[in-house]
C-alpha cells in the first residue's frame, strides 16, 4: 500500500470535496475489510483513503416512507441484530449474519458489500432479491439505482468510490402476504464464502405465489436472477412440492457456476442450488402458513 493521506470527513459535502480534491486518486473506505486486503495485494489502488465510517449523517437505519433506509455506515452486525429487520426482512438479517466472521461483521458495512461487487456477497444477494435501491451522491447530484444494476463485471462496481458515495440502501417494506428467505451452503459456518447462496422474495395470496424474485450467487459475475425460474413461480401453490422442486430445477439450469477447487465442480454446485432453492421455497411456504 502506498497511501499518502488518511482523511476523516465529518459530513457528506466535505467528503465529496475531498474526493474532488484528490481527482480520482482518493478512495472511500468504510469497514475496509475487503479494501485493505485488495490494496495489500495490489488489486486496488489509492493514494488517499477517505474514511466515512464515523460520519454522523451516514449512521444507522430506519423505516421511512415504506422503505428501510440503511445508511452507509451500518455494519453487518448492527443490521443482523436489529429485531425489526429480523422480523420484516429475515433474508437480509440472515444474510448479514453469514458474512465473514463476528470480527468482520463488527466493522464491515452493507454498503461495502455492494460496492465490492463480488457475486458471492451474502448481503448483496439478499438486497437484490428484495428489490433494494442504492442512493448515490456525487458532485453531479443524487441518483437512485437498483442494486442489481450496479454490477459491471466480476468485482467491478458501477459505483466509482473515488468520485461517488453510496449514502444509503433502500429496501421496500414487505406488504401483507410477502415473505423473504435466505440460505447458503458452505463447508463451514464462518470464515467461508458460500459454495452457493440464494435469497427469495415472494408475493403470495391464499397460499399461491403471485410473483417472486430470486437472487443467487456465486453463479455468474454478479448476484444472478434466474428469469425462467421466476416466471415459473407465478401461480405456484406453495403446498405443491413438485412445483417447488421444478422451480429449483429450472433455477439450477439457468445458473452458470464455475468449476472451483474450493467450491466444487459446476455440476455439483448446480445440484446444490436446485436443492437450496426448493428448500428455501419450502421455508417460505412454512412462513406463509404461520402468518395465515
Amino acid at each position: 500500500m502506498n497511501i499518502q493521506d488518511y482523511l476523516v470527513p465529518h459530513h457528506v459535502d466535505e467528503c465529496l470535496a475531498m474526493l474532488n480534491a484528490w481527482g480520482g486518486r482518493g478512495r472511500l473506505v468504510a469497514g475496509g475489510t475487503d479494501l485493505v486486503a485488495s490494496l495489500e495485494y495490489g488489486k486496488a489502488q489509492a493514494e488517499a483513503l477517505i474514511d466515512i465510517s464515523a460520519m454522523e449523517d451516514l449512521m444507522g437505519f430506519e423505516i421511512q416512507d415504506h422503505e428501510l433506509v440503511v445508511r452507509a455506515g451500518s455494519t453487518h452486525r448492527q443490521v443482523s441484530a436489529a429485531p425489526r429487520i429480523r422480523q420484516l426482512w429475515p433474508a437480509l438479517s440472515k444474510a448479514c449474519g453469514s458474512v465473514g466472521s463476528p470480527q468482520i461483521r463488527n466493522v464491515a458495512t452493507l454498503a461495502g458489500n455492494v460496492v465490492n461487487a463480488q457475486p458471492a456477497a451474502d448481503a448483496a444477494v439478499a438486497l437484490v432479491a428484495l428489490g433494494a435501491r442504492a442512493e448515490i451522491l456525487s458532485s453531479g447530484g443524487r441518483r437512485l439505482e437498483a442494486v442489481e444494476n450496479l454490477y459491471g463485471g466480476l468485482g467491478q462496481s458501477r459505483i466509482d468510490s473515488s468520485r461517488e458515495i453510496l449514502v444509503a440502501l433502500r429496501v421496500p417494506v414487505p406488504d401483507a402476504g410477502e415473505v423473504n428467505v435466505y440460505g447458503r451452503v458452505s463447508p463451514r459456518n464462518s470464515l467461508c464464502l458460500p459454495i452457493v447462496n440464494a435469497a427469495l422474495s415472494l408475493k403470495t395470496a391464499g397460499g399461491t405465489v403471485l410473483s417472486g424474485r430470486i437472487a443467487m450467487g456465486p453463479v455468474s459475475d454478479r448476484p444472478f436472477r434466474p428469469e425462467r425460474a421466476e416466471a415459473a413461480l407465478q401461480g405456484v401453490a406453495l403446498k405443491d412440492r413438485a412445483a417447488l422442486s421444478e422451480v429449483g430445477r429450472i433455477a439450477g439450469e439457468e445458473a452458470n457456476p464455475r468449476d472451483s477447487c474450493l467450491r466444487g465442480c459446476s455440476d455439483y454446485r448446480r445440484q446444490l442450488l436446485t436443492v437450496l432453492i426448493r428448500t428455501l421455497l419450502e421455508d417460505a411456504a412454512a412462513q406463509t402458513a404461520e402468518e395465515a
Binding site: 500500500m1 502506498n2 497511501i3 499518502q4 493521506d5 488518511y6 476523516v8 473506505v29 475496509g32 475489510t33 485493505v36 486486503a37 490494496l39 495489500e40 488517499a48 483513503l49 474514511d51 465510517s53 465473514g100 466472521s101 463476528p102 470480527q103 468482520i104 463488527n106 466493522v107 459456518n189 464462518s190 470464515l191
Partner: protein
C-alpha cells in the same frame, strides 16, 4: 506524511506517529512492541490478530490504524499479568485450552468480549462468538470448556462483589 494517532491502549492514553495506510496490527507489533497480537493469515481468515475496539472484537490485520483515532483498544497485554491473570486466561490454562498458543490471545479477547456482554452464554452463543477463530492444535472442545468455566468464575466473582 506521518499522521499522529491518539487512542486509549489498554487503559492508557497513547500517541504514536503512523504511516497513513499503516495497519493496526503493524502499529501494535512494530511501533509499540506489543507482540501478543499475532499475525496469522494477514487477510482476515484466521482470527489470530483479534483485538477489542471499544469492547468489540475486530481484526487488526484488516484495520487501518487511523480507524482507532480517539477510541479504546484492548490487546492481550491489557487483560491480566503473570501475577494476576484474567479469569478467561486462568480458565484457558486450567482446561488445557492452550497448546501452541498462537490463536490464544485472539480467542481469549473474543471470549472476554462475549462474557462482558453476556455473563452466562449458552453453548451456541460461545460457538458463535468464537466462530471467527481457527485453532490447529486443541480441537476446540477444551476452548469451549474454558469459556464455560470462565463464565462461572466471573459470575462467582461478581456474586462475591455483590455480597461484600
Amino acid at each position: 506524511m506521518m499522521k499522529a494517532l491518539t487512542f486509549t491502549l489498554n487503559g492508557d492514553q497513547t500517541r504514536v506517529e503512523v504511516d497513513p495506510g499503516e495497519l493496526l496490527l503493524d502499529v501494535l507489533r512494530r511501533r509499540l512492541f506489543l507482540t501478543g497480537t499475532k499475525k496469522g493469515c494477514g487477510e482476515g481468515e484466521c482470527g489470530a490478530c483479534t483485538v477489542l475496539l471499544d469492547g468489540q472484537p475486530v481484526l487488526a490485520c484488516l484495520l487501518p490504524a487511523m480507524k482507532v483515532q480517539g477510541r479504546a483498544v484492548t490487546t492481550i497485554e491489557g487483560l491480566g499479568h503473570e501475577q494476576r491473570l484474567h479469569p478467561v486466561q486462568e480458565a484457558f490454562l486450567e482446561k488445557g485450552a492452550v497448546q501452541c498458543g498462537f490463536c490464544t490471545p485472539g480467542m481469549v479477547l473474543s471470549s472476554k468480549s462475549l462474557l462482558d456482554g453476556q455473563p452466562q452464554p449458552s453453548e451456541d452463543e460461545i460457538k458463535q462468538a468464537l466462530s471467527g477463530h481457527l485453532c490447529r492444535c486443541t480441537g476446540y472442545v477444551q476452548i469451549l470448556e474454558a469459556v464455560k468455566d470462565a463464565a462461572e468464575k466471573m459470575t462467582r466473582a461478581e456474586g462475591r462483589k455483590g455480597h461484600a
